[in-house]
Amino acid sequence: MEKIIRGKAFVLGDNIDTDQIIPAEHLVYSLSDPEESKKYGRFALSGVPLKDSGLPDGGIPFIEGENYQSKYNIIIAGSNFGCGSSREHAPFALQVAGVKVIVAESYARIFFRNCVDGGFAIPYETPIKLNDKIKTNDELEIDLTNNKLKNISTGSEYNLKPLGDILPIIEAGNIFEYARQNNMI
């Protein structure tokens, strides 16, 4: 597992549900076909109303044009990120688009589990609201060893909540690797 992750921030609001992360009409594509599954990246976060996409100003699409990868690989969001349906296509879409870490005040349970057990992205929680302090396009550095987020663009540094019980699953890669390492399967 990488211990330092650097990248550009994409900032979102509260209650970003899975229909905004990947609208239901796109759930038909294969998740295993290397070409077809790129469509999940192409439509990642396409359900977010444009005015709320890329805060504080909005109006920034997460994916440009016909690309399937985003130039943003760290999501900064408010509370209850990933609420709504159980679709694992949501964290998968973010992974295909290149997202490595999500930093939110809180998560919906199923989305959180999917991120961890499927090994799609690291879901960090923050003790304080950060989506009003970090701007889309800020350069960030996340230190997984010390659970710190540094905003290189502004020099500010923030603590992240330790990953706790789920860290061994994240370190293993996903729940299957974890179970194999522990002779459970």
Binding site: D17, E25, V28, S32, C83, N114, I175
Partner: protein, 431 residues
């Protein structure tokens, strides 16, 4: 310290005498349910991870209902149903309910109840957030993603964090204009869409136990809209009767101890609750129907696991009887059983189906349909600029199709009253 019903069921499923909220425990799963959207990726992950050794832990415990994208020309959606069909045939699965056959059931959560898979005291996981619906039968049920489902498919086990419980006690007699939908919208407005995150919502009180199973399922169905892990109502005589009419399988009835610990307890007098809506764009954006009365509509929608059960259509038909709808109104029975009952149940000697047809409603085939938008040819799908009132469960931006549409969530009574006026209307005007 006593335990809640949820803690007792989880203790049993983990082979322990007691469990505490916050503990991560491994559970033995009684039933795994999946459908056409999440089934194919679950199967792929299971094959990839278990390889040549891939074995289904217990074929009798795997239940597959194609239900989401069924009546569509979308080739990829149809491919997904084919993947389920081939999987069921390759592994000779007894509990697959194929499209285009007599076995086709429709929406999974309602079909689970109808087919006798919901058993008090058991543990059910499903690849769908509304799996919490089954909690109406005094059991633990919750949604998971494809990876977790693939893990269960191969092992019959999964880890879960024991949830804290919140209790909602509804006292009094249900007024004739009120439904379970109004009760859950009341709760969502009070605790918000994250007020139940990682928690169990337990419903109790005289008003709850006066409700039929269809109505109880509306309450537990929308527990996920508060972010909850599960919703639960202890089993009573009505539950047992419903279950026994469908299966001989064993079950065990649990109930919360009087000294069980709750994070919070809410008490309501149902006589003081009036018809409610959730305004765009969140299920917790509660208001009274009175306050939004007169909002001009382009469409009305009655369907889904939340609002497409037989009781929902009986309620809607009571109001629509003898009227014409003023805006396009879609009737989407959750299951094929419900669809058949529309031709059997009558009001004043006229079947529900005739009542809806004479009023000018569109009756669609059983499936999830436009509740979650779906492929572009989905019946009832929201288009740009629409204002819809619906008996479904979510009104986040774009949930029912276009993100340039607005959706109000309400009870079947309120949606029916609004259908015959073309504007949001308090059902008490027609009851």
């Amino acid at each position: 310290m006593g335990m809640t019903i949820t803690e007792k069921i989880l203790a049993k499923a983990s082979g322990r005498r007691r469990v505490e909220p916050g503990e991560n425990i491994w559970l033995n799963v009684d039933v795994l349910m999946t459908h056409d959207v999440c089934g194919p990726p679950t199967i792929e992950i299971w094959k990839r991870e278990f390889g040549d050794k891939a074995k289904i832990w217990d074929k009798k415990k795997v239940v597959i209902f194609p239900d989401h994208y069924i009546f569509t020309k979308n080739p990829q959606a149809n491919r997904n149903v084919n993947i389920l069909r081939e999987f069921a045939s390759e592994y000779d699965l007894p509990n697959y309910y194929d499209v285009g056959t007599e076995r086709y059931k429709g929406v999974c959560h309602i079909a689970l109840a109808e087919e006798g898979y919901n058993l008090p005291g058991t543990v059910l996981f499903g690849t769908d957030s509304h799996t919490c619906t089954s909690g109406a039968f005094g059991m633990f049920s919750t949604g998971v993603g494809n990876t977790d489902a693939a893990f269960i498919l191969g092992t019959g086990k999964i880890w879960e964090k024991v949830p804290e419980s919140m209790k909602f006690i509804f006292e009094g007699q249900m007024p004739d204009y009120l439904t379970a939908k109004d009760l859950i919208l009341q709760v969502l407005g009070d605790i918000t869409t994250e007020g139940g995150t990682y928690r169990a919502l337990e419903f109790d009180g005289e008003a709850i136990f006066s409700l039929e199973m269809d109505e109880r399922m509306t309450l537990t169905n929308m527990a996920i809209e508060a972010g909850a892990m599960n919703g639960i109502i202890k089993a009573d005589e009505l539950t047992e009767k419903y279950v026994r009419e469908r299966t001989d399988a064993p079950y065990e009835i649990f109930e919360s101890d009087p000294d069980a610990n709750y994070r919070e307890i809410f008490r309501y007098d149902v006589s003081k609750i009036e018809p409610l809506v959730a305004k765009p764009h969140s299920p917790d954006n509660r208001d009274t129907v009175r306050n939004v009365q007169g909002t001009k509509l382009t469409k009305c929608y009655i369907g889904s696991c939340t609002g497409g059960k037989l009781r929902d259509f009986i309620n809607a038909a009571k109001i629509i009887f003898g009227h014409q709808v003023k805006v396009p109104t879609f009737i989407v029975p959750a299951s094929t059983y419900v669809a058949k009952q529309l031709e059997v149940e009558t009001i004043n000697g006229i079947t529900l189906k005739e009542i809806f047809e004479k009023a000018g409603c569109v009756i669609a085939q059983s499936s999830c349909a436009a509740c979650l938008g779906g492929p572009s040819d989905t019946v009832g799908r929201a288009t740009d600029g629409e204002v819809i009132i619906s008996t479904t469960n979510r009104n986040f931006p774009g949930r029912m199709g276009s993100k340039k549409s607005e959706v109000y969530l309400a009870s079947p009574y309120t949606v029916a009253a609004s259908a015959i006026t073309g504007v949001i209307t308090d059902p008490r005007e027609f009851l």
